[in-house]
C-alpha cells in the first residue's frame, strides 16, 4: 500500500498544515509510515502553495511525490500549477467555488470554503472541512486517526470548531461517495 497525495492552494489557506495533519494521522495513529514535504519558496506566501504526503505500510525510501494518486486543490492557480496533469486513475477533490477548471480524472466538488464560511462561520477552517472530505472519499487514514491528529495540531480553544469542520467534511465526502 502506497498513497501519494498532493495538496495545492494559495498561501494562507493552511495547505501545508493539512498535509502535516494527514501525515501525523498516518504515522502516529494508524501506525503507518508517512513523509510530508512542501514547496517552500517565496511563491508559497500568497501564490500557489503546494505540499505532499506519502503514506505507506513499508518504510518510505524516495521521499518525493512523483505521481500523485490523490489531489486536493483549493485554488485556480494551484490547479494550473500542480493539477493539470493527473494520472487517468487519480482522484481529485476540488474546492468548487475557487477552482473553475475541471480535471480529466475523477473529481469531487467540495465547497469547503463556502461551507466553512456559512455553516461554521469561520473561513479559516476550510482546510479542515476539506481534510474531512478527503478522508471520507479516499480512506487514506482512519477517521479516528484524523480526529486525533487535528486535535493535536490546532490552537487551544478551537478544538470544537475544528472537530465540527472535520465532521462536516466527513458528511460532504460521504455524500460524494454515495452519489457517485
Amino acid at each position: 500500500m502506497r498513497h501519494e497525495i498532493r495538496f495545492s492552494g494559495f498561501g494562507g489557506q493552511g495547505i501545508i498544515l493539512s498535509a502535516v495533519i494527514l501525515g501525523r494521522a498516518a504515522a502516529l495513529y494508524d501506525r503507518n509510515y508517512a513523509v510530508q514535504t512542501q514547496v517552500y519558496g517565496p511563491e508559497a506566501r500568497g501564490g500557489a502553495s503546494m505540499s505532499a504526503v506519502i503514506i505507506s505500510d513499508e518504510p518510505i525510501l524516495y521521499p518525493e511525490v512523483t505521481d500523485p494518486g490523490i489531489y486536493v486543490i483549493m485554488s485556480q492557480q494551484g490547479f494550473e500549477k500542480y493539477g493539470t496533469r493527473p494520472a487517468p486513475a487519480a482522484v481529485m477533490l476540488i474546492d468548487a467555488d475557487l477552482v473553475h477548471s475541471r480535471p480529466s480524472c475523477t473529481f469531487h466538488e467540495i465547497r469547503s470554503t463556502t461551507e466553512a464560511k456559512t455553516a461554521l462561520g469561520r473561513v479559516i477552517v476550510a482546510n479542515i472541512v476539506m481534510l474531512g472530505a478527503l478522508v471520507a472519499v479516499t480512506g487514506v487514514v482512519s477517521t479516528t486517526a484524523i480526529e486525533k491528529a487535528v486535535l493535536d495540531s490546532v490552537p487551544k480553544g478551537t478544538e470544537e470548531l475544528n472537530m465540527k469542520a472535520l465532521r462536516r467534511g466527513f458528511e460532504l465526502g460521504d455524500k460524494e461517495v454515495d452519489t457517485r
Partner: protein, 366 residues
C-alpha cells in the same frame, strides 16, 4: 520508553542536540535552518540552557566557542552565506581545539543563491573552508531519524576529538517531516578533563589533549596563534608549528576508520553507488524496485574524515557511481582513492535525483 513522533528534520536536529546535553545555542536565523534556532529558543530556557541570538554568524560561532570553554555542549545552525561567514572562527576552533557542533542546512549557492532549495554544495567548504591545514569531522543525515541520531552523535565526536564537528544536512532533509523514534536516552561520551600537572596542549595517546574547563582551577592561555604545549604563542619556530598542525590533522585522520559510520549493501556487486545525504534515498528506492541487478551501495553517514578503506571492501567493484546535489565534490574524493572508473552524477537546482534518472544510468551499463 522510546516515543514515536511525526517530526520535521530541523526539529529532530534540535531535539537530538538537547538529548545529547547541548545547553548553549548561539546563532543567527537563516533559511532553511531557521526552525532549529526557533526550536532551541523555545526549549533551551526551559532547561538549564542558554539561547542567544547574536548579531551575525561571525559572532554566533565566537559565542559557541566561548560557551564550550566553560564546559557546555554548544552549537550553532546556519546555511550558505552564514556558513561562509563562520569560516575564520572555525579555524580558531580548530587551533584552540574547541569542541562544538555546527549544523549547516545546505541551500543552493554560491552567495545568496537558492535560499529555499536543497543542495550539497558545501561538502568541500566544510573540509577546507578555513585557511591552513586541518582536519575535522562531517556527518550527513539522509532522514529525519538520522537528523536526530547524527546530531546527538556529533557532540560525542566533538568532545572526543576536541574539534568542530559539522552536521552537513540540507533543505530537503531539514524541512521534510517523517515518523521517527525518539530513544529513551542517547549515549553521551563527555570530553576528558585535563589531568592536573599535564600541559594543556600536549596530545594524549590519541593526539587529543585533556580539556582544562574554565572555572575548574586551571591556569590556561587560549590563542589562535601557533602555540607550544603550554598554550603560549610561539609563532616563528618551524618545528613547533609543524608539530602542532600535524597533530591537529592526525588526531582525526588516524582515527578515520574508527570514526566511520556507514551502511554497506551487496558488497559483491560490480556497480556500486556511493552516497551521503538525500541521494541515499533515491538509490535505496532504485535497489528496492530492481533487486538482483548486481548493484551495491555504500551509504556514508560520516563523509569526513573520508573512510577510503570501505571502497576496497567492494572486492568485485568495476565502477563507482556517485550521485550528489553538487557538481561532483565527493566524487573527486572517491576518484582519489581508486583506480576504477568513477561516474559522477551531479544535480544542481535544488531537486533530488529521481529513481528514474539513476535507473537510466544502470540500464546504460555495458
Amino acid at each position: 520508553m522510546s516515543k514515536i513522533e511525526f517530526m520535521q528534520g530541523n526539529t529532530a536536529c534540535a531535539e537530538g542536540a538537547l538529548a545529547a546535553g547541548c545547553r548553549f545555542f548561539g546563532g543567527y536565523p537563516i533559511t532553511p535552518s531557521t526552525e532549529i534556532a526557533e526550536h532551541m529558543a523555545r526549549r533551551l530556557p526551559k532547561t538549564d540552557g542558554v539561547f542567544v541570538q547574536m548579531e551575525d554568524e561571525i559572532a554566533s560561532i565566537a559565542a559557541v566557542i566561548g560557551a564550550s570553554w566553560t564546559g557546555a555542549r554548544a552549537m550553532t545552525a546556519t546555511s550558505g552565506p552564514g556558513f561562509s561567514l563562520m569560516m575564520e572562527n572555525i579555524g580558531y576552533a580548530v587551533i584552540t581545539e574547541t569542541p562544538c557542533v555546527i549544523v549547516n542546512i545546505q541551500r543552493g549557492g554560491p552567495s545568496t543563491g537558492q535560499p529555499t532549495m536543497g543542495a550539497q554544495g558545501d561538502m568541500l567548504q566544510c573540509r577546507f573552508g578555513s585557511h591552513g591545514d586541518y582536519s575535522t569531522i562531517a556527518l550527513s543525515p539522509s532522514s529525519v531519524q538520522e537528523m536526530y541520531d547524527l546530531t546527538a552523535k556529533a557532540f560525542n565526536l566533538a568532545d572526543r576529538f576536541r574539534v568542530p564537528v559539522f552536521v552537513m544536512s540540507d533543505e530537503v532533509t531539514g524541512h521534510m517531516r517523517e515518523r521517527i523514534t525518539i530513544p529513551d536516552r542517547v549515549e553521551i561520551v563527555s570530553r576528558r578533563p585535563l589531568e592536573k600537572g599535564t600541559l594543556p596542549f600536549r596530545g594524549g595517546d590519541d593526539g587529543v589533549p585533556g580539556f582544562p574547563e574554565f572555572g575548574m582551577g586551571y591556569g590556561v592561555h587560549v590563542t589562535g596563534l601557533t602555540h607550544d604545549e603550554r598554550g603560549y604563542p610561539e609563532a616563528t619556530d618551524p618545528h613547533i608549528h609543524a608539530a602542532l598542525v600535524q597533530r591537529l590533522v592526525s588526531k582525526v585522520e588516524s582515527a578515520r576508520h574508527d570514526i566511520a559510520d556507514y551502511e554497506m549493501v551487496n558488497p559483491d556487486a560490480e556497480t556500486v553507488f556511493v552516497t551521503y545525504g538525500p541521494p541515499t534515498r533515491t538509490v535505496k528506492q532504485v535497489m528496492h524496485d530492481h533487486p538482483g541487478e548486481g548493484v551495491g551501495h555504500l551509504h556514508l553517514r560520516i563523509v569526513w574524515p573520508f573512510p577510503e578503506r570501505l571502497l576496497r571492501l567492494f572486492t568485485n567493484a568495476k565502477t563507482f557511481i556517485v550521485p550528489e546535489m553538487n557538481m561532483g565534490q565527493i566524487a573527486r574524493e572517491v576518484e582519489r582513492h581508486t583506480d576504477l572508473p568513477v561516474i559522477s552524477v551531479p544535480k544542481l537546482g535544488g531537486e533530488l535525483h529521481t529513481p528514474g534518472e539513476l535507473q537510466k544510468l544502470l540500464e546504460a551499463r555495458p
